[in-house]
C-alpha cells in the first residue's frame, strides 16, 4: 500500500528542474564576470578560485540537465512540447559550458589581456554576460507563466524580455567587431599563438551571447503551443 492512488499520475513538473538549472547558469555567469575581472588585474589566485567554482557549477548544471532528460518519458503529457523542453534544457546548458570553456582556455594559458584592448574586451564580455542574465530572467518568467496557465499577456511580457535580449546580443556583436578591429591593429606585436588563442576566447564570448539569445527564442517557441 502507499503512493499508488490515482495521484501517481501527477509526474514531477519539469519546470522545477528548469528553474534550478537557470539558477546555476545565473551563478556561473556571475562567477565568470568575477573571473574576467581577476584576470584583467592579473590576480591569478582569485582567478583560480573562480575557475574552480565555475567547474563545480558546470557539473551541477550537467546533473540537473541529465535528471530532467531522464525524467521525461514519452508517456508524459505536458503543458509544453517535450521536444521544445529538451531543446531548451540543452541550449540553457550551453551557458555554463561556455563559461567553463572561456575560463579554461584563459587559465590554462595564463592569458594576459593586452592593455590596448583591455577595456574593449571587458565591455564585450560584460555584454555577453548581461545576455546570459537576461536569458535567466526569461526562464524565470516561464515559471510564472506556468502558474498562470500560459496567458497571452504573459506571452507578450516574455516577448518583451526576449526582444531586450536580442538588443543585448546585437550590442555584444557590435562590441565584438570593434574589439577585433582594435586588436587587429596591434596583433603583430604579440606572439602569434597567444593571438590565436585570444581570438578563440573572443569567439567563445560571442557564442555565449548567441546561446543566450537562442535560449530566448526556444522559450518563445515553448510557450506558444
Amino acid at each position: 500500500m502507499g503512493n499508488d492512488t490515482f495521484l501517481g499520475m501527477l509526474a514531477e513538473s519539469p519546470f522545477t528542474g528548469l528553474q534550478e538549472h537557470m539558477k546555476i547558469g545565473n551563478k556561473t555567469s556571475k562567477e565568470l564576470q568575477r573571473f574576467l575581472k581577476a584576470v584583467s588585474k592579473n590576480d591569478w589566485k582569485e582567478a583560480k578560485e573562480c575557475r574552480k567554482e565555475i567547474v563545480s557549477l558546470e557539473n551541477q548544471a550537467d546533473d540537473i540537465k541529465n535528471s530532467i532528460r531522464n525524467n521525461l518519458p514519452k508517456s508524459l503529457f505536458m503543458s509544453v512540447s517535450r521536444q521544445d523542453l529538451l531543446d531548451l534544457v540543452f541550449t540553457m546548458d550551453g551557458i555554463p559550458n561556455a563559461a567553463k570553456d572561456i575560463s579554461g582556455v584563459m587559465i590554462g594559458r595564463q592569458m594576459l589581456i593586452p592593455e590596448e584592448i583591455k577595456s574593449g574586451f571587458i565591455d564585450c564580455a560584460n555584454a555577453a554576460i548581461k545576455a546570459a542574465n537576461q536569458a535567466s530572467n526569461a526562464v524565470k518568467k516561464v515559471d510564472q507563466m506556468q502558474r498562470s496557465g500560459f496567458s497571452s499577456s504573459d506571452a507578450n511580457l516574455l516577448e518583451d524580455i526576449v526582444s531586450e535580449l536580442e538588443k543585448i546580443e546585437k550590442k555584444n556583436d557590435e562590441l565584438e567587431i570593434a574589439l577585433r578591429t582594435e586588436f587587429f591593429k596591434v596583433e603583430k606585436e604579440y606572439p602569434p599563438v597567444d593571438v590565436m588563442f585570444l581570438y578563440d576566447v573572443i569567439n567563445k564570448i560571442g557564442s555565449l551571447a548567441d546561446i543566450s539569445q537562442t535560449v530566448g527564442h526556444v522559450l518563445i517557441r515553448l510557450v506558444s503551443k
Binding site: L7, A11, P14, S75
Partner: protein, 423 residues
C-alpha cells in the same frame, strides 16, 4: 425453498452485515483517500481536517443523497421478478458479491493497483447472477447504461474541469491583479459547488429520507443554501490579505491561499459526492439481504432502507479511514506538489459535480476514475506541468481487469455458500 431463509436467516444476516462492514471498511481504507487526497496534497486541508471532513460529509452524502445508487445496486441490476421463487439465491449472491469485492480490494490495495470499488461490486453482482442463477436474471440494458456511464463520467468530468480551469485563467490568473480578481470570483465557484450538491440532494436524495420537494422548491432551497455558502466563503476570504512580502516571481502565493479556502468547500462537496455514490457499494447489497430476510423471503418487498444498515456502512468507512486511510492520505499529501489549489479545486469540483449528478440518476460510477478524467481536463487546459500517461493507462487497465476478477470471485463464493447451506 423459503426454509433456508427461515432456518438460517439470522446467521445469513450476521454474515451479510459482517461482509458489508468489511466492504465499507475497505472503501474507507482506500477509496476515501483518493477522494480527499487532492485537498491534502494541495495543502488545503491538514490530515486531521481531511479525516474530519470525510467522516461528516461521507455520512451526509450517503444518508441524504445515496438512496438512488443504493437502490440500483440493490434491485436495479438483477430482475427481482425472475428470482421471486428463490430468494435465498439473492442472499447468497449478495453476500458472495460483498466478499468478492472486499477481498479483491484488499488484494489490489496490497499490490498497489488502483482498482475501483464500484467496478468490483457491479462485476461481482453481474457475475453471480448471470452464471449462478441465469443469464436472463441480469437486467442487461441497465448494466449497459452503467458501463456506458463509466466511460462518460470521466469524459464529462474532464470537460467540466477543462472549462472550470479555463474560466479561472480568464477571470483570475491572467488579470493584472490576480489577487483581487480571485477575491471577487472565487465565491462564485463556492456558490456553484453549493448549488449542484444541494440541488441533487433536494431533487433526488431527500425522498429516500421521507421528504419530498417539487422542482421549483428544490431550486429555491438550493439557491438559498448556495448563497449562504457563498457568503460564508466571502467572509472567510476577507481574512486573507496580500500584505505578506512576496518574493519576485511568487505573485501567485496569495492567489493560491484564496483557492485553498475554496478547496475546503470543494473537498466537502467531494466527500459528500463520494458518500452519495460509493457508500452504496457496501450498503446496496446489504440492503438487499436485509430486505429479503426481514420480509421472510419476499424479494420484491418494498421497504425503505433501515437506518442501521446505513450506520454499518458509515461506521465501516470511518473505521477504515481511521485505521488505514489516513496513512494513504499522508503519503499522497507528501508526494504531490504539482496540484496547487487553483488546479486541485477545478478537478475536485468537476469530479464532485459529475459524481453527485450520477448519484441523483442512480448510476454507480467510480469516483477515482472521474477524478482521473478531471485531472486530465486541467492538464489539457495547460494547468499541470506533467501528467504521467503510463499511470493513467494502468488505471484504465485495472478498470477492465476488475470486472472479470470480481465476477469470477463472486461466482466462486456463491457456489460455496449455496453448497454450504444446502439449497
Amino acid at each position: 425453498m423459503i426454509d433456508v431463509i427461515a432456518d438460517y436467516g439470522h446467521i445469513l444476516l450476521i454474515i451479510g452485515c459482517f461482509c458489508g462492514f468489511f466492504m465499507a471498511w475497505g472503501i474507507g481504507a482506500n477509496d476515501v483517500a483518493n477522494a480527499m487526497g487532492t485537498s491534502v496534497g494541495a495543502r488545503a486541508l491538514t490530515l486531521g481536517q481531511a479525516v474530519l471532513v470525510a467522516c461528516i460529509f461521507e455520512f451526509a452524502g450517503a444518508y441524504l443523497a445515496g438512496g438512488e445508487v443504493t437502490s440500483t445496486i440493490r434491485k436495479g441490476i438483477i430482475d427481482s421478478g425472475v428470482i421471486n421463487q428463490t430468494p435465498e439465491l439473492l442472499v447468497f449472491g449478495m453476500i458472495a458479491s460483498l466478499l468478492a469485492a472486499g477481498i479483491w480490494l484488499l488484494i489490489a490495495s496490497y499490490f498497489g493497483w488502483p482498482v475501483s470499488t464500484t467496478h468490483s461490486i457491479v462485476g461481482a453482482i453481474v457475475g453471480f447472477a448471470a452464471v449462478g442463477i441465469g443469464f436472463d436474471v441480469v437486467q442487461w440494458p441497465k448494466v449497459a447504461s452503467i458501463v456506458a456511464s463509466w466511460v462518460v463520467s470521466p469524459i464529462m468530468a474532464g470537460t467540466i474541469s477543462f472549462l472550470l480551469f479555463t474560466s479561472v485563467k480568464q477571470l483570475i490568473l491572467q488579470k493584472p491583479d490576480p489577487f483581487m480578481s480571485a477575491k471577487k470570483y472565487v465565491p462564485m465557484y463556492m456558490f456553484l459547488a453549493g448549488f449542484i450538491v444541494s440541488m441533487v440532494t433536494f431533487l433526488k436524495g431527500l425522498k429516500h429520507v421521507g421528504l419530498s420537494f417539487s422542482t421549483s422548491q428544490s431550486i429555491a432551497w438550493s439557491l438559498v443554501i448556495a448563497l449562504v455558502i457563498c457568503l460564508m466563503g466571502t467572509l472567510l476570504l476577507q481574512k486573507i490579505d496580500n500584505t505578506k512580502k512576496e518574493k519576485n516571481g511568487a505573485m501567485f502565493d496569495g492567489v493560491e491561499r484564496i483557492f485553498a479556502v475554496l478547496m475546503v468547500f470543494t473537498a466537502c462537496a467531494m466527500a459528500f459526492a463520494h458518500g452519495s455514490n460509493d457508500v452504496a457499494n457496501a450498503i446496496g447489497p446489504l440492503a438487499a439481504i436485509v430486505s429479503v430476510i426481514n420480509s421472510g423471503g419476499e424479494v420484491a418487498a418494498k421497504s425503505i432502507l433501515p437506518a442501521w444498515v446505513l450506520l454499518i456502512g458509515a461506521s465501516g468507512i470511518v473505521l477504515g479511514l481511521g485505521m488505514l486511510g489516513y496513512r494513504v492520505m499522508m503519503t499522497v499529501g507528501r508526494s504531490i506538489t504539482e496540484l496547487t489549489p487553483s488546479r486541485g479545486f477545478a478537478a475536485e469540483l468537476a469530479a464532485a459535480g459529475t459524481v453527485v449528478i450520477a448519484s441523483g440518476t442512480g448510476l454507480p460510477i467510480s469516483t477515482t476514475h472521474t477524478l482521473v478524467g478531471a485531472v486530465l481536463g486541467v492538464g489539457l487546459a495547460r494547468g499541470i506541468g506533467a501528467i504521467n500517461l503510463g499511470v493513467v493507462g494502468k488505471i484504465i487497465l485495472s478498470w477492465i481487469v476488475t470486472l472479470p476478477v470480481g465476477a469470477g470471485l463472486s461466482i466462486l463464493f456463491f457456489f460455496a455458500l449455496k453448497g454450504f447451506f444446502g439449497s
